[in-house]
Symmetry: C2
Subunit: 140 residues, 2 copies
């Protein structure tokens, strides 16, 4: 069975790009510049279960996404996490944090409710375009 | 200036072992089998700032700690995160999660208060000894 993105991840996010290993998504929550990386490997649940020959590229994509968010969003801090207690499909959160954001200094999960970007929102489109420009060497 | 463990991390945890790159700690919270990895590199704040020549060993130690917790604690899910919004020194959480634990399915941070292991607690000592035995090939 081929890889397919978990419907809950697709529903909560906007697509950004296909990187060499991962689908890159932007969480549809304008409170936080918040990316999700999903390795296109079927039935993958745990970070430590990523096949040995794909680990380096995964960590490269996590690092590149972190640096891109730092530059594009001017993040004060990057939060990286693989949780997956609710959606089992392995996905890695990479989140730009600010000392004035809605959850600081707590983690973002479970704080209030997502505030989706407006339909065809220029802010989301600008953020996505800037991320793609930063990640050009990592595109599939 | 040499590396020294942030006092807040030391205060909240029990020492487990020195791995090749990281100090391995056990959070002093018996609600969760919860490890912390701290790379012994001074002034390190972000995961993506780990020097290129130390990244592979860091990810190896994260993976080995995850597998060790899975085996030793019988974890249903492993949560991995580098947050650092409060304690800036880079530290990576590796947490054994269970569908019956005190925070499930939410992340563990900000849920209730830590419940320290009792003084000279056999449970903590047994867990630490089992982790060290699993990680014998990664010791400094």
């Amino acid at each position: 069975m081929a890889f397919s993105l978990h419907p809950k991840l697709a529903e909560d996010s906007l697509p950004v790009a296909e990187l060499a290993l991962c689908d890159l998504l932007l969480m549809n929550d304008r409170r936080f510049p918040w990316c999700i990386l999903v390795p296109r490997i079927e039935n993958l649940r745990e970070l430590h279960a990523v096949p040995a020959d794909r680990q380096a590229v995964l960590y490269e994509e996590i690092g590149a996404t972190s640096r891109a968010l730092e530059r594009v969003a001017g993040a004060e801090k990057i939060n990286v996490a693989a949780l997956g207690n609710i959606v089992a499909q392995l996905h890695i959160h990479v989140i730009a944090r600010f000392s004035h954001d809605a959850a600081w200094p707590a983690p973002v999960w479970g704080i209030g409710s997502a505030e989706p970007y407006a339909e065809s929102c220029e802010r989301a489109q600008t953020l996505i375009a800037a991320l793609v420009a930063e990640l050009t060497h990592h595109l599939r």
